[in-house]
């Protein structure tokens, strides 16, 4: 018997060795006859030599000052603005080149880059990228607070009348000062690449990003809350350097990456506008702590016979955090004691490994698989706050608190096989598994298994249809015993047992020579089968499609639309009994447009319009059933651009964009600064705007690009 086992084992090893040898063996592929390139002069090739550049300048006008319209395009102010952009490239016969580009230079949201290099040898790129995010303009939000010189203290005006509720703050109206809620990022970068030998590259990247501005933050004093303008001022510097080696069979890329986040502030203190209880005339709030990520990155791939590819990614590193801790409280009337140490000295180990495999061992068979390992291990030394913890800057609590540290270990695997029944019918089936282990949470482990199958059809050229159906089951294990104040029947939704079925459909269809149709749809249904309370069920139905018609070269029309409906049901129980909340979000879009290019060699015209409507409904049931008002939004956006080409060098464009957003939101509707006695707000309303933008630009091309593109016959 033992001999038989040995023989079988030997046979398996032999088979395995044979399979490996077959994969690793040199591939015999169809080869073309060797070319004699001695006569290949490329004398008619219009290689670029000299300078080719384009400059665009112009002016625009915005009708209304609305932060939301200008949220990311920086067109938040009414009035005129400058338009300027450029791009170009210079090249010498010996392969030196200089390329440059800049966009939206008349605004704060702009970018520019310059690259210099020698073809095939090295390149150096210098870049700048700025983006402003406008959330609310100074016509939308106000605050009685002013920011101190240190940037991390918020003061109320002298003479402020504290009160137990907002209605008693008699100085409020007179103290409100408009303030814009916006942040600006400015990033500069340098990217270097040097080919030191054939198939051997060195590279180095550096990036520095500065972020400044103001955000709205909520803070409280246990029974009252207020919104404050939180100053933002931070810098992130990151760099990566490494090496890449390429060969005919594969590549290896190794690098070292560091990202260092440095917050200019260590905390934020703010005057308490409410009646000072227990001497709390100020409150303190932490800010994002400095942190530093260091990673070693390894990436490799190899390509073998039978279309077999294996790739591997590893990212091994750690995150450190040693920002100074704030005091237990800013309340000088309290004596909470000393901190156990100056900073958390946070130390996270983050390791990630991934392996991909794909192969086509037979004409009709394609297999692929992957495995992943993700680890987040918190190696921070335990910190215990003994008899010093202060709740809401008002109450020193007795007892010791030791913050929990949380580890995650996620392992995933996937295997999919595809079989081509005919050339245009391919069936596939796959399975995926995930095991996620956590520490110090309600359950130690969740395991999720997914199975799916489907078909990819290409019944004739121009049609591609993919249909996939599947199901997922997630099981939780090793639940901890609930504390006395916890509901033992309640499951957190990401830790709960869940069943999901899903269907995906994708269609791309060139219906006629001039018409294409696209469709993309997904349906998913969730059931939390063992959750007496918590999230009980959910569903997501979404689809979108478009039709494009190109009746002739240079002319196209399109129409598109989308629909999405998401539902969820959650339940809970308290001393008043059980309650539930049903959510239903619907979202609809449609758009249409036309594009005409090169009409008479002179004209380009673009016209488009899109509309997006959303509705969010919540119905709660406790003793009675009641529905929140619908939260609605409707975005309408239209655009017309007409360009006229005077010559190969000179063209003129005029454009108009009209955009309107109307929205309602019960969380902000009719909510003024002091509407709620226990909530002091900054007065923001739901977003509504009606903006019109008009612009004209002149574009001029320097250089011989178009002239040299015409080749002698």
């Amino acid at each position: 018997m033992n001999g038989l086992k040995v023989k079988m084992k030997g046979s398996r090893n032999l088979l395995l060795a044979g399979a490996v040898a077959a994969i690793l063996s040199p591939v015999q592929v169809a080869m073309s006859a060797e070319a004699d390139t001695s006569e290949w002069k490329c004398s008619k090739c219009p290689f670029q030599v000299g300078t080719d550049a384009t400059v665009t300048v112009g002016a625009g006008s915005v009708s209304d000052a609305t932060a939301k319209f200008g949220e990311y395009n920086d067109l938040d102010e009414d009035g005129g603005y400058a338009i300027a952009s450029f791009d170009g490239r210079s090249r010498t016969e010996t392969g030196w080149y200089l390329s440059y580009e800049g966009h939206k230079l008349g605004l704060d949201t702009r970018d520019a880059a310059v690259t210099v290099g020698k073809e095939g040898i090295f390149s150096a790129r210098l870049s700048y990228d700025g983006i402003v995010r406008h959330q609310y303009g100074d016509e939308d939000t106000s605050t009685p607070f002013s920011v101190g010189a240190d940037g991390q203290s918020l003061f109320l005006p002298s003479g402020w009348v504290r009160a137990g509720s907002t209605t008693g703050m008699t100085m409020l109206s007179a103290s409100l000062t408009p303030i814009a809620i916006e942040t600006e990022r400015k990033a500069g970068g340098v990217d270097l690449k040097w080919r030191v030998a054939k198939s051997f590259d060195l590279f180095a990247n550096f990036r520095s990003e500065d972020k400044q501005g103001t955000r709205i933050a909520g803070v409280g004093n246990f029974v009252n809350a207020l919104q404050i303008p939180k100053p933002i001022d931070s810098t992130t510097e990151s760099y990566e350097f490494g090496v890449q080696w390429n060969a005919s069979m594969g590549f290896v890329r190794a690098s070292y990456y560091v990202s260092k986040y440095d917050n200019e502030y260590n905390g934020l203190t703010w005057d308490n506008p409410y009646t000072a209880f227990n001497g709390m005339i100020t409150g303190g709030t932490a800010v994002a702590p400095d942190n530093k990520l260091k990673q070693f990155l390894l990436n490799a791939g190899v390509h073998l016979a039978y279309d077999t590819s294996i790739s591997f990614q590893a990212a091994m590193g750690k995150v450190e955090q040693d920002s100074p801790l704030m005091a237990f409280t800013t309340n000088t009337a309290l004596s909470p004691g000393a901190l156990p140490r100056d900073s958390l000295n946070g130390d996270l180990k983050v390791n990630h490994y991934g392996l991909n495999l794909s192969s086509r061992p037979f004409d009709k068979v394609y297999i692929r698989g992957s495995a992943r390992y993700d680890q987040r291990k918190d190696e921070t030394a335990a910190i215990t706050f003994a008899d010093g913890y202060v709740e809401s800057d008002q109450f020193v609590t007795i007892g010791a608190y030791t913050p929990q540290r949380y580890d995650y270990l996620r392992r995933q695997g996937e295997l999919e096989g595809e079989y081509a029944l005919w050339e245009n019918v391919r069936f596939f089936i796959g399975m995926r598994g995930e095991k996620l282990r956590r520490t110090n949470q309600d359950v130690d482990e969740t395991t999720e298994g997914t199975g799916y199958s489907g078909v990819r059809l290409t019944p004739y050229a121009g049609v591609m249809l993919m249909l996939r159906i599947g199901e997922t089951h997630k099981d939780a294990a090793d639940a901890r015993a609930p504390e006395a104040w916890e509901n033992p029947s309640f499951w957190k939704y990401n830790l709960a047992n869940r069943d999901r079925d899903f269907t995906d459909l994708k269609l791309n269809w060139a219906a006629f020579e001039t018409v294409t149709v696209g469709l993309d749809a997904q349906v998913a249904n969730d059931t939390y089968r063992l959750s007496p309370y918590g999230l009980k069920s959910g569903s997501d139905r979404r689809g979108a499609g478009n039709i494009t018609w190109m009746p002739k070269e240079g002319l196209s029309f399109y129409v598109d639309g989308g629909y999405q409906q998401m539902k969820a049901l959650q339940t809970n129980v308290n001393t008043s009994g059980e309650w539930s909340a049903e959510h239903e979000d619907t979202y609809k879009t449609y758009g249409l447009g036309a594009k005409l290019t090169d009409l008479g060699g002179k004209w380009d015209v673009t016209v488009d319009y899109s509309e997006a409507k959303s509705t969010g409904d919540i119905t709660t049931t406790s003793a009675t059933t009641s529905a929140f008002p619908s939260n609605n939004s409707k975005l309408q956006s239209g655009r017309v651009i007409v360009s006229y080409k005077f010559s190969e060098q000179l063209s003129l464009s005029v454009g108009a964009r009209l955009e309107r957003l109307k929205s309602s939101d019960w969380a902000l509707q009719n909510l003024d600064y002091a509407t709620v006695p226990t909530l002091l707000t900054m007065g923001q309303d739901p977003y509504n705007y009606d903006a019109k933008v008009y612009a004209f630009t002149v574009r001029y091309n320097f250089g011989p690009r178009r002239a040299t593109a015409v080749v002698d016959k």
Binding site: T37, Q244, Y261, R376, H473, S626, V710
Partner: protein
């Protein structure tokens, strides 16, 4: 606990059935499928290259749309790795041997490899030309990627003869991706979304379209590490952590856009109450009486809801921040 079993309890319910089906399907395939042909072609029918390379091609293909390639890296004569580098195969490096195409007449003219959505050249044949250089010269993991499995050709996204390839430009890339990803296109118009439609962010800011080892082809090693590449301030670790934030940003946020502020998947307080249920205000049934105009407008419901007080939802570094209020 048995750590050696990757596919554990979750898979047992129906996963075993799916696994068995996969095994049966694989077995049938292995038994029934013919072996892939790897024999060398007959030299008599092997296609040959043109006599003068690009000079032959440019005799006919001389329009500006073709010549745009000479403004790109592919048309760089001094780069030995470029198709037009010294000793390289010029147009035929990508389009394949073209002697017969150049000398053929009328309908009998054999086609060369053509890169386009409507090309008669099979996708695999098109991609093979590109991957011959690019699969090992970059960190791409194309084989087995979602786009490869879906049968996409490189030319579905890239325009190689244009001096400016749209998909490589931050401002225009989404337009190319939205050609297939239509639900993402619709989501980009939601009231709270990343600045994709404004052209200030590209899909490739988060995703690696040529494949990665993550499930949704993310650029970072995980969802969180992808998000932290811009939101570095949330990296932590904090004194007081908020566990879902440390586990997966996507538990609360929808990165492709939402109708709720901060791209949250649902509204507060209900989103928070899907995890927080302890005695006291977390388990209270909040209703429309808590909004302005209701019988008891409440800071638990209005403005930032729970975050009016619990402002540090991503974690707090305050020693007194146990409840994420400081």
């Amino acid at each position: 606990m048995n750590n050696t079993i990757l596919f554990g309890r979750g898979l047992r319910r129906t996963g075993i059935a799916w696994g068995a089906a996969l095994a049966v399907a694989a077995g049938l395939c292995l038994l029934g499928a013919p072996r892939v042909s790897v024999a060398a072609d007959d030299p008599a029918t092997t296609p040959t290259y043109s006599k003068k390379g690009a000079d032959t091609c440019l005799n006919c293909h001389d329009d500006a749309s073709i010549a745009g390639i000479f403004q790109t890296k592919h048309g760089a004569p001094n780069n030995p790795d470029s198709p037009f580098g010294h000793g390289q195969m010029q147009c035929e490096a990508c389009h394949g041997p073209g002697a017969a195409h150049a000398t053929g007449k009328g309908k009998n003219r054999p086609a060369v490899i053509r890169f386009a959505r409507d090309s008669i050249t099979p996708t695999a044949a098109q991609n093979k030309q590109c991957l011959g250089c690019h699969e090992t010269s970059t960190k791409h993991q194309w084989s087995g990627s979602a786009h490869a499995v879906a049968g996409l050709a490189c030319a579905n996204c890239h325009q190689l003869h244009q001096s400016r390839d749209k998909v490589l430009a931050k401002a225009d890339q989404a337009e190319v991706c939205f050609g297939c990803h239509k639900t993402q296109q619709a989501n980009s118009l939601k009231p709270y979304a990343h600045p994709i439609r404004q052209g200030e962010m590209a899909c490739s800011s988060c995703h690696e379209p040529h494949g990665s080892t993550t499930k949704t082809a993310l650029k970072g090693a995980t969802v969180n590490e992808t998000c932290y590449s811009c939101h570095q301030e949330l990296r932590g670790p904090y004194v007081w952590e908020h566990t879902p934030a440390t586990e997966n940003c996507a538990l609360c946020h929808d990165a492709h856009g939402s109708i709720h502020p901060a791209m949250l998947k649902q509204r507060g307080p209900f989103l928070c109450q899907q995890c927080h249920s302890v005695q006291g205000h977390p388990s209270v049934a909040y209703g429309p009486s808590g909004i302005v105009g209701g019988t008891a407008p409440s800071p638990m419901v209005l403005a930032g809801s729970c975050t009016n007080c619990h402002t540090q939802v991503h974690g707090s570094n305050h020693p007194s921040g146990r409840n994420l209020t400081r």
